[in-house]
């Protein structure tokens, strides 16, 4: 009986002393954490995709709390909605960033870009690109081994087996940029989503001169510069035999699309052309 009593008393005493010590130690070494970090983290999508440029949502929340000015910070997954909520919690102004979407700047399908050799190495674009320029005559275009699809966490990409090119499912794409980093050929670009998802871009990254580019792929940008001349807004630049459309300057007039002799300039989500096309064809004739 005695043994039981002594045990209980000793243990209780030990417990009480430890509790007191722990209390003071906890007071002494207390780390203050802004409660707003938790609040902001709560409203972030918890995708931890890294699209904001920070290692995960928590780090982004910390950065938002610390920042004096929220311009330049954007959660691509949550978009303007989440950012304005975060702004409300922090009492800071938020300028909504334009929504972006990934685009594949290569249209080298099996028909457009005939195969010249066969690759039977490891199924990885980064490995293949370290070995050579690819199965076709174009050393810039898509290798078709799907590193970008592998990198996408949002189920927003798949490989089209017919064309051998990756396809982006716009509704799922959050513009986190994982595919952009994964692509060793730098083919995928984040571009302005545009009004009603309408956008125009050069679907080619070939920097070869016109003749070899065209020989390798029938829809390559040959660097002729016609689009540069026709653009009324100076949105198109030509560098290293390759045209590039600045999406901040582009007003979606679609003049360049019809001008391009190789159909390298793509328009997306526009309604089919009606009268304008008729007038233009009349003019051409």
């Amino acid at each position: 009986m005695n043994v039981v009593l002594i045990t209980i008393i000793t243990l209780s005493a030990l417990g009480a002393t430890a509790a007191v010590i722990l209390y003071f130690v906890a007071q002494k070494f207390k780390v203050y954490e802004d409660p707003r970090i938790d609040q902001v983290e709560e409203i972030l999508p918890a995708a931890n995709c890294g699209g904001c440029g920070f290692p995960g949502c928590r780090a982004f929340a910390e950065a938002l709390v610390k920042a004096d000015d929220l311009s330049g910070y954007n959660c691509p997954v949550g978009g303007a909605d989440v950012m304005s909520k975060a702004g409300k919690i922090l009492g800071k102004e938020v300028t909504p960033a334009a929504p972006m979407v990934a685009v594949v700047r290569c249209n080298g399908t099996c028909e457009n870009r005939p195969k010249q050799n066969n690759y039977d190495g490891a199924k990885s674009c980064s490995i293949a690109s370290a070995l050579y320029g690819g199965e076709t005559g174009c050393t810039f275009g898509c290798l078709g081994l799907g590193d970008c699809v592998e990198a996408c966490q949002f189920n927003a990409m798949y490989m089209d087996e017919k064309t051998g090119l990756p396809v982006i499912i716009e509704d799922n794409c959050v513009a986190c940029g994982a595919c952009v980093t994964a692509c060793p050929k730098n083919i995928i670009e984040l571009r302005n989503k545009g009004p009603k998802s309408r956008r125009i871009f050069v679907s080619c990254v070939n920097k070869d001169k016109g003749a070899p580019a065209k020989k390798a792929c029938s829809v390559a940008c040959i660097g002729c510069g016609k689009c540069v001349k026709v653009c009324p807004f100076e949105a198109i630049t030509l560098e290293n035999n390759l045209a590039y459309i600045d999406f901040n300057k582009c007003k979606l007039c679609r003049k360049c699309v019809t001008e391009c002799p190789t159909n390298a300039i793509h328009e997306l989500n526009f309604p089919p052309k009606k009268e304008k096309t008729a007038i233009e064809t009349a003019e051409e004739n």
Binding site: Q116, N117, D120, G121, A122, S124, S126, I127, A130, L131, Y132, G133, T139, D208
Partner: protein, 443 residues
């Protein structure tokens, strides 16, 4: 018991089909395309322009960095253009394209076949001549030879090792060079010894070339300090570190160069090029290339001007056999498949191998069965299965700790894997990523 290296190694079928074919001189092609990047390091800078007349052996590009090399014209004629074309790298890179007219050589080059054994040049002069002749390691790594011959301050070289191993299956160019240009190689070795100020040289030759061993032993008796070391046949004995281990039982520490253990390794082909550069003033403009393959009509060894398209060599060997699946530049173990036969021969091309479909295609990849064969064959003592997984999962810091940079890319692991896993493919990817990270750290 014959010597060999201590760790790992494999013994693939030797298939030295062209071993008995004497070196033939391939006619000078109508045009040559001389890439300005034929060596490890910075590409050379062209010093000729369109329309210039050049002679054989004339300097056409000069080095643009410390690790870089001179490049000379291999033909006489007119510079047609400086254009981009696909080379061994698989990408379009700059090359100087020359249309051949006549065969007019630089006057300074001594074209007589007489052997000159006297070496009047001083070590410094020798190194300068080697550099100006554009000599790079002809074993395949194409590291500029003069850099290896000038050890950094504080490092001492006491032995020169000459690589006559030719451990790659199929290739026989070094074998033929030893048989036909043995005397020149001996003088070349003497020159290299003088440049390095060493009194000893070992020529390591694998035992599958008994005629070359016999011939070289007879020749070596006439020169002081040169020993011929017959070695057990084991791949990858031609790797610098493996050869040093095999010949003199010294182990190069991880991440260090052979000079750390007082050795410098050069290829027999390089020794021949050194002889020609120093004694005959002839820059590196041609080399011996083996053209071979199981279905090739006439496997042969050709003396080829640099810049000749691969297709011309294949033509000389009887054309492309019908069952060809892959054209490989180099040997079957470390060589690289070429994307087109128009690629020009460069300083590093040791062979052209035409592989039939049956043996060229890869087998389907299966799961790792933990047999650890890759670990036991790795000549560097690495764990290839682990390095592959780390590269696949992009765990670069761990890959660095596992000494991924020590990999010599010999391919023994991929060769031996019963699940045909692309081990070396992923390790190469890992090496390039880890290398990038390490370089960015020192900046």
């Amino acid at each position: 018991m014959l010597k060999t290296f201590s760790l790992g190694g494999i013994h693939p079928d030797e298939n030295k089909l062209s071993a008995d074919a004497p070196i033939e001189v391939l006619p000078v092609p109508e045009t040559v395309a001389i890439p300005i990047s034929q060596h490890i390091g910075a590409p050379a800078e062209p010093i000729v322009k369109k329309g210039d007349r050049v002679k054989v052996g004339q300097l056409i590009a000069k080095p643009s960095g410390f690790v870089s090399s001179y490049i000379h014209s291999s033909v006489s004629g007119t510079v047609d253009k400086i254009d981009e074309l696909i080379d061994v790298s698989g990408y379009k890179r700059k090359a100087i394209i020359i249309k051949t007219e006549d065969d007019e050589w630089e006057e300074t080059i001594d074209r007589s076949p007489d052997l000159i054994t006297e070496i009047p040049a001083t070590p410094e002069e020798i190194i300068k001549m080697i550099q100006e002749a554009g000599i790079v390691g002809l074993g395949g790594a194409t590291f500029p030879a003069h850099i290896k011959l000038s050890p950094p301050p504080g490092k001492n070289c006491d032995i020169l090792i000459i690589n006559g191993v030719e451990c790659e299956p199929y290739l026989t160019s070094d074998h033929r060079v030893m048989l036909e240009k043995g005397n020149e190689i001996m003088v070349g070795v003497q020159i290299l010894m003088k440049a390095l100020k060493v009194n000893n040289a070992i020529i390591g030759i694998e035992n599958n070339k008994p005629d070359a061993i016999k011939h070289m032993i007879t020749l070596a008796s006439k020169y002081s300090g040169i020993v011929i070391e017959p070695l057990k046949v084991q791949y990858p004995q031609g790797g610098e570190k493996q050869l040093i281990d095999a010949c003199i039982k010294r182990q190069v520490p991880s991440g260090k160069l052979p000079i750390e253990v007082g050795a410098v390794v050069q290829n027999v082909g390089t020794a021949l090029a050194v002889y020609e550069a120093v004694q005959k003033k002839k820059p590196l403009i041609e080399r011996v290339v083996t053209v071979t393959g199981k279905s090739v009509k006439k496997p042969c060894n050709l003396m080829v001007r640099l810049g000749t398209p691969v297709s011309a060599l294949i033509e000389a060997a009887g054309g492309i056999p019908e069952d060809t699946e892959k054209i490989i530049g180099g040997g079957p173990m470390m060589g690289k498949a070429l994307s087109t036969p128009d690629i020009p021969i460069t300083k590093g091309s040791s062979g052209i191998l035409l592989m039939p479909k049956k043996i060229a295609t890869r087998k389907p990849v299966q799961n790792c069965i933990r047999c650890s064969k890759c670990v036991s064959v790795c000549p560097m003592g690495l764990s290839p299965y682990l390095l592959m997984t780390l590269a696949e999962k992009a765990i670069w810091d761990r890959a660095e700790d596992e000494a991924i940079m020590d990999c010599i890319e010999c391919g023994s692991c991929s060769y031996t894997c019963p699940s045909s896993r692309p081990l070396l493919d992923y390790i190469r990817l890992g090496k390039s990523k880890v290398g990038q990270i390490m370089r960015s750290r020192t900046k």
